[in-house]
Symmetry: D2
Subunit: 351 residues, 4 copies
């Protein structure tokens, strides 16, 4: 018996009959085959395959985060971290993939471009799902409702369903809020203040940190102080993406990341910033590519593609508030010493 008659066969397993029969060129149907249309199709299909994978990872991450609690000693947070690292690696590939699309010259694209109207990359449901699952809400989208008019109702509905669900940003916010660092009085009872506490300061740690931060500022940075107050003292900042408590805990993680319990959380927060960076780099290179291939012509979807992309580039950062916390760091050597009990709780049982 032939080896390939038994068990699994590579081509069947990968369903290559579907994958490799999904390239029908409009230019062939129109009787004017354009060689490069194949590249156009295959590149977009490769993007969609990777979006599928990204969604698979993010779905699993959201499920793990949706638990009421993630026990410190469960493998769940490590799994979240590992899978988000993979998304990062895929995004790096997707940025690189633009190199391939750029081998198509403007003149070669013109050979079939008009045949595709009004289809547009804008109609990638999966890409919008990724954005929504990460935390981009409709009102924050550039062109807000515009995209819905471009999509079939059932496709728009899928995205809106995801927008209605808790996103990675929101679940990260909740996870940050759950951290007990500043909630428990007992936790901080032994904290030895550096400075006499300021009036009305909610917590001696923050009172100290405020003064240390003030000392660290250059003359032309005094304005940062107002922002510090709003962000970390006032507890009345309602507009942000991060809640008051989440913001404080995120800064705490960044400052005390050397304690074992905070290693992975710190790496996780860094990954979120990597994601924003990579998605924005992808958008940026995409703009350059579109500009180069179609110039100031309208996109196949009818929009002036470049302007849309540019506005999206500026507005679609999702984790920018986390990135912004960097503004409020001080030198490690000046950090307040944590109470011994807190230190212990941030370490390993065996330590």
């Amino acid at each position: 018996m032939h080896i390939s008659d038994q068990g699994i066969y590579y081509g069947d397993y990968l369903q290559l009959d579907k994958i490799l029969s999904a390239q029908d060129l409009e230019s062939e149907k129109a009787g004017r085959p354009a060689h490069d249309e194949m590249l156009f199709i295959v590149t977009h299909q490769a993007y969609e395959l990777w979006f599928r994978q990204i969604i698979h990872e993010i779905e699993s991450i959201l499920s793990l985060f949706e638990q009421p609690v993630i026990p410190d000693n469960s493998p769940d947070f490590y799994t979240i971290f590992h899978r988000l690292s993979r998304v990062k690696t895929i995004l790096q590939l997707l940025v690189k993939q633009i190199d391939v699309m750029e081998t198509m010259t403007p003149l070669d694209f013109l050979d079939f471009r008009n045949l595709l109207r009004p289809a547009s990359g804008f109609q990638s449901v999966q890409f919008k799902i990724v954005e929504a699952a990460l935390g981009l809400k409709q009102p924050d989208r550039h062109g807000e409702l515009y995209y819905i008019s471009q999509l079939r109702p059932q496709d728009a509905a899928v995205i809106q369903r995801i927008e209605g669900r808790r996103s990675l940003l929101e679940l990260t916010n909740e996870w940050l809020e759950r951290m007990p660092f500043f909630r428990e009085e007992a936790f901080w009872g032994q904290y030895a203040p550096i400075f006499p506490p300021a009036d009305g300061a909610p917590h001696p740690f923050w009172s100290d940190y405020y003064q240390l931060y003030e000392q660290s500022l250059q003359a032309n940075e005094r304005g940062n102080l107002r922002q510090f107050e709003r962000f970390f003292l006032a507890d009345d900042d309602k507009q942000g993406k991060l809640s008051f408590e989440a913001r404080r805990n995120a800064l705490f993680i960044m400052l005390y990341r050397d304690f074992p319990l905070l290693h992975l959380p710190f790496q996780y927060l860094s990954l979120l910033l990597d994601m924003d960076e990579l998605m924005s780099t992808w958008r940026f290179r995409h703009i350059n590519m579109v500009n180069r291939i179609i110039g100031l012509r309208t996109g196949t979807g009818g929009s002036t593609g470049k302007d849309y992309l540019k506005a999206a580039l500026d507005r679609h950062y999702i984790f920018n508030e986390i990135a912004g916390l960097t503004t409020f760091l001080i030198e490690r050597s000046n950090l307040p010493v944590l109470p011994v009990d807190v230190q212990r709780r941030l370490g390993f049982a065996a330590g």
Copy 2:
């Protein structure tokens, strides 16, 4: 006799005594050694080494272009092309090099950041030389005169000297102008017009092309027509970086690139766009990195680094007018047929 006593020795040849002794940490001098300062120094030195190489290549390219004429059959234009390709490869490396810098966390940078004031990457004379040699003039720089105040007079003078010399952009413009395509009456005598020439059209080719372009436009693209007139018919566009003649010849190259004489010129124009893309991608990733490492703090040079970089990102495209020509392409199958004699002159002698 020992092999290393005769002839050239690797370490001597590379002057590693200089290269490897050029890392003095300010944090060590201050008695508080910061491990990551070495990374900061080495990364910037690696950038400067590569800038040195880029300048070496561009210098040689400018010299070749400065000849009154580049004979078609000399190897010079091929050499220009080859060396600019190398610059592109180096720029790709420099974009990637940001990955290394990003391994420095904000907290680690804080350990030595204040010791560096007011030094700033802004003071990289070589980077400004690269920009100037490519074609960025002082009035087009964001912050125009600001940078001069940051530099030692002798350094500012070096850059201004380069700014006063013909740049790659200007020399490319002159090279494009020298092309005889639309100057010689004899050249075009045999051109068979497709349409009755429009009144006052400077040349039947352009009259035809205008009408073909008009036919190619979507309803919402009619505005492009006015721009076409200004760019290719009116001969009164004084503001641009490209002259009227250069612009027409550049478009001609893009359209008829399949003729042997235009292969390399087309690849060369594409390289210029690659350069702009890579430099802007570098700037973009640089912004993200700065934003991530120092947040909204001021840079070591005292500027709010991010804002400067962002304005520079938008304004420092050098070859954008060449990229913009894509707007005016039409489908290859609709291109006017060139006179046989022109075709012959665009080919090989042996062909």
Copy 3:
């Protein structure tokens, strides 16, 4: 009417119904869903999509090369060059894509690995088509007939059909042979020999070049001279992949690449070497990855994957004889001057 009801819709155009429904996890069917199996499937599908594109490009290149003659002034050779450049860019992406697969840890792979037996990447028909279309013949394959036993008869037949057709290597050989450089007496009548011709030398140019090459050798390189004789003088080297005439013309192109007619041919030959480099780098990284993920276990296909891959790595270079020509270059400043008429024929008509 809704915009998406008219004309082409992105998801339909890309047949996303097929593409995104082609991921059925064996581990799910077995009732033990393994999260990472999705990555395994999607990554391989992405590879297959790109192989499809590579085959599309190579097919078109082979067709162009199959013409009895490629007129110097037709755009065909430029098209060949451009499309092969694209294949290079895709191969660079495929090397990078291994980064994504490497995010799967050995333990995660074990969760579903046994379910896939005996399927194996070895069964990728498209990859073998690429190899065969480039020039790898069955007898040169490591494990020669082995791979046929792993494939369904109809799949093996497809590959064998391609192996029976003229490959890129053979067509390149024919294209090199067609070049008239050393065939036409008239062409070389005016050649001014540097040295008195050696006895029996087939052509004064080669007689000169032989002596110049001899002068260029270091003492420990004298053995190269025998090889030079066999390769360029004897005309009896039957075993090689390149014919005697092709080999001489290829070296000529490398030496005189500065003449316009030889610009693209030189770039083309360099691209062939890039292809070999990239495919071998891919194989090399693949070996490392397999070694890392499954260690010394047998692959799902039953082979000791690593050994096969390693043997293939060494043997599957296709254009190695072209790379080897580098051995026989001499310094540009010592090159024999070509007759004026030859120079003219290597240039542009307008030059």
Copy 4:
């Protein structure tokens, strides 16, 4: 006062006077300036700068490892991990940097190649320091003593001094040995065996694991069992790079990496494999490049460069025994359950 007169100035800080004056072309001294020699010098200098940085990182890692103990709750191991991650990122850049060198064509290299004899990349002291610091000992080097004859005595001495010191491999081995997993009786008292213990099995865990591993093998993998016995049961394997105890603990880490205490150790072991992969990929691409640029000519150092590089490629893997442990993994779902007390000790205090 001018801003640049006070405080630190970018160019001074980076000692650009040294860095940018360290390029003296031999071809210029010889009166025949070769344009590409600058590229040759700058590329090698950039490599040396990065080697400097890599050594800076590895030095600091070795120092941390040289402590008699690394307390679980100190930041030291995290610091080690972070710095080794950076080395990985730098190595990725160095692989990419070969792209730049490959822009030099063979003919361009010939213009100055003979002037460099007998200097050779082989004489890079820093590269050999990196290899030695990671764990490559002289007897394991291809060509063992050969390299010493190529170096000045004082340079050879530097490398030998590093070879005499404990390397990253040895310190990793010691760190692995220090782990208490299988030493403490108390630790394992509560272990509930799955199978009746085999005769003479040193520990019920390993007796179980042996049987589980046996069950996991395919028919043609039975040979692995002998190796398992030698590696994990016999305690008489003297030849390896890892001691018996270290090997067992490393496998334990790979298997139970989901426990918090093992997260970083697992990531650290993976990083070691990344290092080997990247260094071997660099060597591999280097071989291809050398082969391409000089063919079968001897290198400037007199060796047949390619053969040396190829032997080094196969032999210079440093952490291959850690990679090989993958051979002995079993499915996660079959893993023996750890005693509750062990589980607790592998977790956080707060968990």
